[in-house]
C-alpha cells in the first residue's frame, strides 16, 4: 500500500512545472485570448519533453506511460491555466486510440494518429456532439465517439460554428460532422468512447485542482501584502477562515483525482464512480477556491488587468465541462444504487 507519487513521477511533475512556469506565464495566457487560444511555446516544449506522447504506446512513438503518470502533469497544466489541449489530445485521445490499435479496421489509422499526437498534432475527442468544444478551430482532427460509432474526422470533414466563451483562451465551437472515416462500431466503439469520456472528465478534474491551488496561492500572496486598516488584509480572521476552507476543499479533492487515475490505469470495476467523484469534488473545490479568491482580492480581482480572472474563468468553464456537478451526482446515484425518483 502506498498512496503517493513515485519519485520518478515527482521528478517528471517538477520538470513539467518548471517548464510551464517558464513558458506559460499569465501574459502568455492573456496573449492566447487575443490569438488562437494556444500557447505554442509551452506546447512545443511539452511535445519535445514527450508529455503529449506519454500515453502513446512505445511502438507508435510514445512513452507508454499510464494515467497515474500523466494526471499529475495535467494538474500542472491547470496551475498555469495552459489553454492547449494536453488533456484532450495527449490524454483522452491517446488512451482511446490505444483501444483501437489492435483492431483490423481502425488500427492503422489509430497507429498513425497516435504517432502524430506524440509529435504535437491535436486530435480532439467528441463525446457529446451538442456541447461546445474548446479549441476546435486549431484542431488537426476529431475522434468522433457518438452513437456507438467511432469516426476519425479531419477539419475538412466538419463544420465549425465558433462560440464566445467567458474564458477567451478556450475559443470553443459547436461542431457538425459531415464526413470522416468510420474506424469502429458496436462494442469496440463503446469501449473507445468510454475510454475517451472518462479521461476527459479526469483530465478536467486534474486541471481544476491545479487551478484551485494556483488561485489560492495568488490570493494568499495578495492578502499577505495588501494593507487595509493598517494591517495586512490576510490577518483578518474572516479572510483566514475563507481561505482555510477553500484550501481544505482543494486538498481533499486531489486524492479523489489520483484514485480515479489509478482506477482507470488498473481497469478497476469501480472506476466509473471514482471518475464521477473526482470530477464532482474537483469542480466544487475549484469553484469554491475561485469564489473565495475573488472575494478576498476585492475590487482588484474584479479587473481584467489583474491575472486572477484568467484562472477563475477557466475554472468556471471546466467545472461544467465533461460532467457538471449535477451530472456527476446523477452518475453516482446510479452507481450507488439510489434511484431517488420518488416525489
Amino acid at each position: 500500500m502506498r498512496f503517493e507519487l513515485t519519485d520518478e513521477q515527482v521528478d517528471l511533475r517538477d520538470a513539467v512545472r518548471g517548464l510551464l512556469e517558464d513558458r506559460c506565464p499569465p501574459d502568455a495566457v492573456r496573449a492566447a485570448w487575443d490569438g488562437d487560444g494556444r500557447v505554442r511555446a509551452a506546447w512545443d516544449a511539452l511535445v519535445e519533453m514527450g508529455v503529449l506522447g506519454a500515453l502513446v504506446p512505445e511502438s507508435a512513438g510514445g512513452l507508454g506511460m499510464t494515467d497515474e503518470d500523466v494526471v499529475p502533469l495535467l494538474v500542472e497544466c491547470g496551475r498555469v491555466a495552459l489553454p492547449d489541449p494536453v488533456a484532450a489530445s495527449g490524454y483522452a485521445s491517446a488512451v482511446a486510440l490505444g483501444a483501437l490499435l489492435d483492431d483490423l479496421t481502425g488500427g492503422g489509422l489509430a497507429a498513425d494518429w497516435s504517432g502524430r499526437i506524440a509529435s504535437g498534432a491535436v486530435l480532439l475527442p467528441v463525446v457529446d456532439a451538442g456541447a461546445p468544444l474548446a479549441g476546435a478551430t486549431t484542431a488537426d482532427g476529431f475522434l468522433w465517439c457518438v452513437a456507438d460509432e467511432v469516426v476519425l474526422a479531419t477539419p475538412e470533414d466538419v463544420d465549425l460554428q465558433p462560440q464566445r466563451s467567458v474564458d477567451g483562451a478556450r475559443q470553443p465551437a459547436t461542431v457538425v460532422r459531415r464526413s470522416g472515416e468510420v474506424v469502429a462500431t458496436g462494442d469496440l466503439a463503446r469501449r473507445v468512447g468510454s475510454a475517451a469520456a472518462e479521461r476527459l472528465a479526469v483530465g478536467a478534474a486534474a486541471e481544476l485542482v491545479g487551478l484551485g491551488e494556483r488561485m489560492l496561492e495568488m490570493t494568499v500572496a495578495y492578502v499577505g501584502e495588501r494593507q487595509q486598516f493598517g494591517v495586512p488584509v490576510g490577518s483578518f480572521q474572516a479572510v483566514k477562515h475563507q481561505l482555510a476552507d477553500a484550501a481544505i476543499a482543494v486538498a481533499f479533492a486531489m486524492p479523489l483525482v489520483w484514485l480515479a487515475a489509478h482506477s482507470l490505469a488498473h481497469s478497476d470495476p469501480d472506476a466509473g464512480r471514482h471518475v464521477a467523484a473526482a470530477k464532482l469534488r474537483a469542480s466544487t473545490a475549484a469553484r469554491h477556491a475561485a469564489a473565495v479568491s475573488l472575494q478576498c482580492h476585492g475590487a482588484i480581482g474584479y479587473t481584467v488587468e489583474y491575472d486572477l480572472h484568467l484562472f477563475m474563468k477557466r475554472a468556471w468553464a471546466l467545472s461544467y465541462e465533461h460532467g457538471d456537478p449535477d451530472a456527476c451526482r446523477s452518475r453516482l446515484r446510479a452507481e450507488l444504487g439510489l434511484a431517488g425518483n420518488s416525489r
Binding site: 457529446d128 456541447a131 461546445p132 462560440q163 464566445r164 466563451s165 467567458v166 474564458d167 477567451g168 478556450r170 470553443p172 494593507q227 487595509q228 486598516f229 488584509v233 483578518f236 474572516a238 479572510v239 469564489a291 475573488l294 472575494q295 476585492g298 475590487a299 482588484i300 480581482g301 474584479y302 479587473t303 481584467v304 488587468e305 480572472h309 468556471w316 468553464a317 461544467y320 465541462e321 457538471d324 456537478p325 449535477d326 451530472a327 451526482r329 446523477s330 431517488g340 425518483n341 416525489r343
Partner: protein, 397 residues
C-alpha cells in the same frame, strides 16, 4: 398588515407598465459599460427624463413626480419586469443625490439635481483609491487651500470608478487637513472631469467591458462658492465643482451616501424578483425538455423563495421608513442578503445551462456582475462586522 395597493398606486403601476411596454428598447441595448453602449443608454436616460420616469420620487421641480416610496417600489418592479436597460446614471441618482438633498445648499440643489435627472451631468463616484478600498478612511488624495483664488487644489488618484471614462463629474473624498488622521479632516468634493489637471484612464472589468476608470487629479482647482461668481465663461465652468457640506466634514456626508448605497435605494426587490422570474422560465423550459433534475429544481426553488423573502423584508423596511423609523444598521442585513442572493440566482441559472454555461449570454454576464455585489459598497466582510457590532451588539474588540 395590509398588502393591497391603493387605487392611486394601481393607476401608477398601470401608467408605468404602459409606458415601459411601449418604450423599452428591443433588442436590448449593448452594455452601458462600453463606450458605444453608453451612448445608447444616455438616449434612453433622456427619454426616461422626458417622460418623467427618471427620478419618480424626486420633487417635480427637479424632474420627478413627488412619488411616494411605495410608488417608487412599484416603478422599480415594473422597470425590471419590463427588462428595461440598466441605469447608467445610477451612481449620481442613488448615491450622490441623497447627500445633495441632505447637505447641499439651495443653489447646489437647484443647479445639480435637474442636470442630474436629465442626464446632462453624469456622475461617477471617487471613493476608492489604490490603498483605500474597504478601508475608506485611508484616503490619501489631498486638497490644499488656495486662498488667492478662493478654493482648493486637488491632487491624488481615485480608482475602480465605475463608468468613470464616460462621465462628466466625480464626487469623492479628499484630505483637507493633513494633520488629522483617518476619517477626520476629509472633505466631500464635487469635481468636473474636464477641469484642468484631471486625467481619466478606463480599464477592463471582469466581464471584459471597459467599466472601470482611474481618475488622476494633478493640482485641480475647485472653487469655494462657484454660484456667487460673476457670470463669465470661466465661472460657468467652475459652477460645476465645489464642496458638499462643511470643510473637514466629508466623512459624515459620505457615510450618509454609503448608507444609501447599502440600503434601500440601491437594490430594489423588483430587480431580484425579475431575475427569479427569468430563472423560473429557464427552469420550466428545461423541465419541458426533460432536462431538469429535482436537485436543480430545488436550487431554483430556494433562490425563488429568497427573492420573495427579500421583497417582503423590503416592504417591512419601507413601512418603517414611511412611518418615520430609520432602518439604521439593518441596511447591512439588506446588502449582504441581496448581494449573495443575486449570486445564487445566477449560479442556479448557470447550473441549469450546464456545459453551455460558459458561453457568452445574459446569465454568465449577469453572474459576473453579481459577483461584484459582495465586494463593492463595503465588502460583505465589513457588513458582517457592522451587523455583529451595531445590530447584535457584539464587542468591537
Amino acid at each position: 398588515m395590509d398588502l393591497r395597493w391603493s387605487d392611486t398606486e394601481l393607476a401608477f403601476r398601470e401608467e408605468c407598465r404602459t409606458w415601459l411596454n411601449a418604450n423599452v428598447p428591443s433588442p436590448p441595448l449593448a452594455s452601458g459599460d462600453t463606450r458605444s453602449g453608453f451612448a445608447a443608454h444616455l438616449e434612453w436616460e433622456r427619454a426616461l427624463h422626458d417622460a418623467r420616469w427618471a427620478v419618480v420620487s424626486w420633487p417635480e421641480a427637479y424632474g420627478g413626480r413627488d412619488a411616494s416610496l411605495w410608488e417608487w417600489l412599484i416603478f422599480e418592479e415594473e422597470y425590471y419586469r419590463a427588462g428595461a436597460p440598466q441605469r447608467v446614471t445610477q451612481n449620481g441618482i442613488f448615491l450622490l443625490a441623497p447627500s445633495i438633498f441632505e447637505f447641499g445648499t439651495v443653489e447646489q440643489q437647484d443647479h445639480y439635481l435637474p442636470r442630474m435627472s436629465s442626464a446632462t451631468d453624469l456622475w461617477c463616484q471617487g471613493w476608492s483609491e489604490p490603498n483605500a478600498g474597504s478601508d475608506l478612511a485611508a484616503v490619501t488624495s489631498r486638497a490644499v487651500r488656495d486662498d488667492a483664488d478662493g478654493g482648493w487644489r486637488l491632487t491624488g488618484q481615485k480608482t475602480w470608478t465605475t463608468r468613470g471614462a464616460f462621465c462628466t463629474h466625480l464626487f469623492g473624498l479628499f484630505r483637507t487637513d493633513a494633520e488629522a488622521v483617518r476619517h477626520r479632516g476629509l472633505t466631500y468634493f464635487l469635481v468636473p472631469l474636464d477641469a484642468e489637471g484631471v486625467t481619466v484612464r478606463g480599464f477592463g472589468r471582469l466581464d471584459g467591458d471597459e467599466g472601470f476608470a482611474e481618475v488622476f487629479c494633478d493640482d485641480v482647482f475647485v472653487p469655494d462658492n462657484p454660484f456667487g461668481a460673476p457670470a463669465d465663461a470661466a465661472a460657468a465652468a467652475m459652477a460645476r465643482g465645489g464642496i458638499l457640506g462643511e470643510v473637514h466634514q466629508g466623512w459624515s456626508v459620505a457615510m450618509a451616501t454609503a448608507t444609501s448605497e447599502r440600503g434601500l435605494t440601491l437594490r430594489s426587490p423588483g430587480r431580484f424578483q425579475a431575475t427569479a422570474a427569468r430563472l423560473l422560465d429557464l427552469a420550466r423550459e428545461r423541465d419541458g425538455e426533460g432536462r431538469l433534475g429535482e436537485a436543480l429544481a430545488d436550487r431554483v426553488v430556494d433562490a425563488w423563495v429568497d427573492a420573495e423573502a427579500y421583497a417582503l423584508y423590503t416592504l417591512g423596511d419601507v413601512t418603517g421608513i414611511v412611518e418615520g423609523r430609520s432602518p439604521g444598521a439593518r441596511s447591512s442585513f439588506n446588502k449582504i442578503f441581496w448581494s449573495e442572493l443575486d449570486v445564487r440566482l445566477h449560479e442556479a441559472a448557470l447550473d441549469l445551462l450546464g456545459s453551455d454555461a460558459e458561453l457568452d449570454g445574459p446569465w454568465m454576464k449577469g453572474y459576473e456582475f453579481a459577483l461584484s455585489g459582495p465586494i463593492y459598497a463595503g465588502t460583505n466582510e465589513i457588513q458582517r462586522n457592522i451587523v455583529a457590532e451595531r445590530v447584535l451588539g457584539l464587542p468591537r474588540k
